[in-house]
Every structure is written in structure tokens, then in C-alpha cells.
């Protein structure tokens, strides 16, 4: 497998637009694109499973970066959208509605609707209060899922048939499913990039740095932030639908508050406000988790302090490390 190697950029010369950041992004995308080939050649299906998970959680982290990194809205309940998307698939599948053309819009729509309600109520608060109220709503959804006795309650629910797309794509084909997730991730990154660089995105970012000023020059910032919040919720709902199809299983555990913590860790680790940051963060976090758990039974003894060191010493996450960007 040949991968575009990272060019050594020294002061005074460079490869034009190939900055270290672009180099890393190309390397990551090329690696991800090649994973199924590698899996097919070596028969290592585990790699494909792991990387499918990476790609799906990268979509979730991407949506979190949109509101947290660009919008300054630190949501500590983002796993709720994963759960809502997943439960939409699971519940519909159990009730005999297997068509993905129904399941997926329902998953995305429900997540968006939930985001609309949570956003409308939470965006009045600021700072740590916002962190806590988003967490509170996610906890409520978590306990609702535990209360759903018909759909497995605490134990969760097995999904026997993945979403059906009438021969358009067969999701039980691992390679096809992987490339679908990968394609959706790329579309997602493009979408976020378009949003962030649009007039709408400028208002969102303006509201992050100085909301009062944005309001003073006439922008109804609440509405802008709410729309942004709903877009992120819908995107994460899609990730939840993918995750349910990937694991063939849903349970309240996918909404536990530590899962929301994981998503925040991925975004911060990769580098907030970097377009590829969430992907790089998800990749690093999940590979680290996997690698360390093979190394030792007590992997978190290493992972935990590592996160602490990252929080203390690296500003702007891995992206900041690569670009030498300060602050963040």
C-alpha cells in the first residue's frame, strides 16, 4: 500500500500547497481508502470492523466539532444523538419496517427534532451551564432507553436485519458498508467546510467569539446557533443509524455519559476547528484504545495519563502539534 508520505517542510522551501497539515490529511484519507484492500489481501476482517467504527465515530465527532469547535457550544450530551439514531433503526427493524428509505430519514429526523427541543431550551444558558444542561438532557434519553422494556431495556436489542435498500446497496457486505460510511464521512467533511465558510458559518463563529457584538450588528444569533445545533444533531443521528447497522445491536450503553466524553476527547485530541481534526482524533483515540488493550490488560493506566498530558501540553490537539498553531 503506497501512501502519500508526509513531506518534510523546512523553513525556506515547501511543496506549494502541501503543508504538513494537508500532507497528514491526504495520508489519513489514503489510508482509510485502502483499508478494505488491506483487509481483503490479508483476510484481516478485524481491521475492517475497527476502521468502520473509526469512520462512523468520526462522523459523530465531526458533527460535534461543528457546534463545539466552530460554534463554541460545548455539548456534553452528544452521544444521545448516536443513541437516538441507533434506536430509530432498532425499533423500526423490530416492528418489521426494514427499509432503509424509511429507517434512515426517521433516524435523522428524530435526532434533528430532539436537537431542536434541546437546543431551544439549552441555548439560553452559557459556559458550564450549557455543558451541564446538554448532559442532563442526554441522561434523560439514556434513562428513557433503559425504560423501553419492549426494546430490551437495560440489556439492549439485537438487530437481525440491517437496513434494506432494495438492491441499491447491500449493507451486510462489509466492504460496501465501509465505503458507504467512508463516503458519507467525506460528504460530511465537505458539508461542514461549506457551512463554516458560508455567511451562516461566519455568523456562528462570530457568535462564538463575541455574541453581544453579533447581536448588536443585527444578527438574531439564537436562531443561527439553534439551526447549527440542529444540523449537528441530524448529522450525529445519521452516525447513530450507521453505528446500529455496524454493530447489529443497540443498547443504552451507547448513550452513557462517558460516550459523550469520548466524543469530546476525540474532537479535542484531533484539534478543534480543524476540518479533519475530528477524523484524526477518532482515528488516534480508537487505535490507541485498541492497541493499548492488546498491550496490557490495564490499558487505561496508559491512556488516561496520556489524555492528561495532551490536555496539559498540547494546545489545539494533534492539528495544533502539526501546524504549530498556538492557542485554542
Amino acid at each position: 500500500m503506497t501512501v502519500a508520505s508526509k513531506p518534510p517542510v523546512k523553513p525556506g522551501w515547501s511543496f506549494g500547497v502541501i503543508t504538513p497539515r494537508v500532507g497528514l490529511n491526504i495520508a489519513v484519507i489514503a489510508t482509510l481508502a485502502a483499508v478494505p484492500v488491506y483487509a481483503a489481501l490479508t483476510g484481516n476482517t478485524f481491521a475492517l470492523t475497527l476502521f468502520t467504527r473509526v469512520v462512523i465515530l468520526a462522523i459523530a465527532a465531526l458533527s460535534l466539532n461543528l457546534i463545539m469547535g466552530f460554534g463554541g457550544m460545548v455539548s456534553f450530551g452528544h452521544a444521545a444523538y448516536l443513541g437516538i439514531g441507533g434506536y430509530a433503526i432498532g425499533i423500526l427493524a423490530k416492528e418489521g419496517i426494514g427499509s432503509g428509505f424509511v429507517q434512515w430519514p426517521v433516524a435523522i429526523g428524530t435526532a434533528a427534532l430532539y436537537a431542536l427541543v434541546v437546543g431551544a431550551l439549552s441555548l439560553r444558558t452559557r459556559g458550564v451551564y450549557f455543558i451541564m444542561i446538554t448532559l442532563a438532557f442526554a441522561q434523560m434519553i439514556y434513562y428513557v432507553a433503559i425504560g423501553l422494556d419492549r426494546y430490551g431495556g437495560d440489556d439492549g436489542l439485537t438487530i437481525y436485519h440491517r437496513s434494506q435498500f432494495d438492491g441499491l446497496i447491500d449493507l451486510s457486505n462489509r466492504t460496501a458498508f465501509y465505503y458507504l460510511c467512508f463516503g458519507l464521512l467525506l460528504v460530511g467533511i465537505y458539508l461542514v467546510w461549506r457551512i463554516v465558510n458560508s455567511r451562516f458559518g461566519m455568523v456562528i463563529q462570530g457568535a462564538r467569539s463575541n455574541e453581544r457584538r453579533m447581536r448588536a450588528i443585527g444578527f438574531p444569533t439564537f436562531r443561527y446557533r439553534l439551526v447549527c445545533f440542529v444540523i449537528a444533531g441530524a448529522m450525529c443521528g445519521l452516525a447513530g443509524a450507521l453505528l446500529a447497522n455496524h454493530t447489529d445491536f443497540i443498547s443504552p450503553a451507547m448513550m452513557h455519559w462517558t460516550r459523550s466524553g469520548d466524543l469530546i476527547v476525540m474532537v479535542v485530541l484531533g484539534g478543534m476547528q480543524a476540518m479533519f481534526g475530528p477524523l484524526i482524533g477518532a482515528l488516534t483515540f480508537l487505535i490507541l484504545e485498541e492497541g493499548l488493550s492488546r498491550l496490557t490488560e490495564y490499558s487505561n493506566l496508559i491512556l488516561g495519563p496520556l489524555l492528561l498530558v495532551v490536555a496539559i501540553s498540547i494546545r489545539g490537539g494533534i492539528d495544533g502539534l502539526i501546524t504549530g498553531r498556538r492557542g485554542g
Partner: protein, 305 residues
């Protein structure tokens, strides 16, 4: 009526316990502006230390005292080595760093004490029940928890309002830079506040240990409840934490006790039991959402933030 009163006492007891956790959390929040997700780990450590020391010394009381000291020392060492480097950083860095600590402590406890969990048994005289009202027997130990935590709350109030250290803590909460500029050793003050908060968390852990099993992750759910208390009370306000802790404790117990019965009046047995279970677990978050929607800065916003 007696049943209601018993549940009321249960609510107070839970509330007092949450206050111990929330007081430390809100102090650390208010003074160092630190979001500390590892606070629940210190609660867990307190319980493990107590179970271990009580086994060694064959005395609940001695074990508790040693555990309290051990938790505080561990926390202060942690503050000096790692946590103080997080001050002044963004809340997200706090979440990342202290989330790492939480993972670390869970794993460390598993390494040292094993995955099985422990039990801390009470001295036999504590196992009795007391007749608090004619016809109502209530476990003595739960009454002791209420009494002791009330005592701790009073001591904390005196410490913060009547001593020099408390004066510095209050000053630090309203303007850190100024306190530092006036020549106070702010680093030492921070370490002491962190140790105090940890001791309160450890105390909550060891008091709760005989009622629940001592296990890994025991600090995680109660941590979130403590965050709820801190947020409802208004970040940095100990008085707010006290009121909110009682509110949350009572709301949780009332929800747990009465929601299924209440729903049963218009729903089937199974529907009301599952819905009631969900609703009662949601109760405290519902209270918090309502409070924050009405008052975005909590019930008692800390002055001069």
C-alpha cells in the same frame, strides 16, 4: 403517612450525601474554575480506602479516619503533580484531562483491589433500627449519616465564613488575581482547597460504602448527580449546593417511590412500572432542566463571578 416520612428521610439522607460531593466540586469550580470529572474517583477511592483500612484495623471508625487522610493526601499529591497544570486552561482541556484521570483511577483500582468489589461492614451497634416516630423504625446508620453530614456542613460553613482560610477561599472565589497580588500563596491555597474537596468526596464515599457495595465506577453516576446539584445551586455557591442537594435528594426519592404508583392510576401495571422507572431516574435531570430554563445561572448565582 409513615411511609411518606420514611421516604422523606431517605431523600434527606441522599441529599446530604450529594451535598458532601457537591460542596467540594463547587469549591473547586468556584475558586480554581476547574471542571473536575475525577471528583467521583476520589469518592470511589475514599470507599476503597475505608474498606481496606477497616479490614486492617478491625475498626470502622479508625478505618474511616485513615481513609479520609489517605484520600486527602492522594488528592493533594495529584493536584501538585498534575491538576494544577490545568488551571487557567479552557474547560474543554479540563474535560479531556480529568476524563483521563477518571480512566486512570478506575484502572488503578482494578489493578490494586481487583475487579470484584468490596464490602465495608458496619459495627454491630450501627445495624439497629431506631423508632423515630411511633411505629416507624428507621436504620440507625442512615440517621448517623444525616447527623454527621449536617455536622460537616456546619463545620464547612464555619470554616468558610469564620476563619482566615475561609476568608481567603471566598476572596479567591471572587477575584483570584487580586488575592495573588496581595501576597497570598495562591498555589498552596489551591492545593488545600483541592485536598478539602477531595476529603469531602472521600468522606461521602466511605459513608455510603456500607450501604452500597464498593465497586469500580461507583463514582461515575453519583458524579453526574453532584454536577446536577452544583449547577442547580449556582456554580461556586456552597449555600446553593446545600439547598440544591436537598432538592435533588428529595426529588430523586419522591420520583423513585411515587412515580410508578402515580402512573399506575391510569396505566397498566407493566407500562407504569417501566415508565415509572425511567421517569424516576430522569427526575433530577428534569428538575435541573426546569431550573436552568427559568434561571440560566442556577438558584444562587455566585456574586462577582
Amino acid at each position: 403517612m409513615l411511609y411518606f416520612f420514611e421516604q422523606f428521610l431517605n431523600g434527606i439522607q441522599l441529599g446530604m450525601l450529594l451535598f458532601l460531593l457537591a460542596a467540594g466540586l463547587t469549591l473547586i469550580f468556584g475558586i480554581m474554575d476547574l471542571v473536575n470529572l475525577a471528583h467521583g474517583s476520589l469518592y470511589m477511592l475514599g470507599a476503597y480506602f475505608a474498606a481496606t483500612f477497616a479490614e486492617w484495623t478491625d475498626s470502622f471508625l479508625l478505618g474511616a479516619i485513615l481513609a479520609l487522610a489517605a484520600t486527602a493526601v492522594t488528592a493533594m499529591a495529584l493536584e501538585v503533580i498534575a491538576v494544577r497544570r490545568l488551571y487557567g486552561r479552557s474547560h474543554l482541556d479540563h474535560v479531556l484531562g480529568t476524563f483521563g484521570l477518571l480512566l486512570f483511577f478506575n484502572e488503578l483500582v482494578r489493578l490494586i483491589w481487583g475487579p470484584a468489589g468490596m464490602t465495608l461492614s458496619l459495627p454491630p451497634e450501627m445495624l439497629n433500627a431506631v423508632e423515630v416516630l411511633p411505629g416507624l423504625f428507621y436504620p440507625l446508620y442512615r440517621l448517623v449519616i444525616i447527623g454527621v453530614t449536617l455536622g460537616v456542613a456546619v463545620l464547612l460553613y464555619l470554616l468558610v465564613m469564620r476563619t482566615r482560610l475561609g476568608m481567603l477561599i471566598r476572596a479567591g472565589a471572587s477575584n483570584r488575581e487580586m488575592v495573588g497580588a496581595l501576597g497570598v500563596n495562591i498555589k498552596l491555597l489551591y492545593t488545600m482547597v483541592f485536598g478539602l474537596g477531595a476529603a469531602l468526596a472521600g468522606f461521602a464515599g466511605l459513608m455510603q460504602a456500607p450501604i452500597l457495595t464498593v465497586q469500580i465506577g461507583m463514582g461515575e453516576n453519583i458524579l453526574i448527580a453532584a454536577f446536577v446539584v452544583v449547577t442547580i445551586g449556582g456554580i461556586g455557591s456552597i449555600r446553593g449546593a446545600f439547598v440544591a442537594a436537598l432538592l435533588v435528594g428529595l426529588a430523586d426519592t419522591v420520583g423513585r417511590t411515587f412515580a410508578p404508583d402515580l402512573l399506575h392510576t391510569f396505566l397498566s401495571e407493566s407500562a407504569s412500572s417501566s415508565l415509572g422507572r425511567a421517569l424516576s431516574s430522569m427526575m433530577i435531570y428534569l428538575v435541573m432542566a426546569i431550573v436552568l430554563i427559568a434561571r440560566p445561572e442556577g438558584l444562587f448565582p455566585a456574586a462577582g463571578k
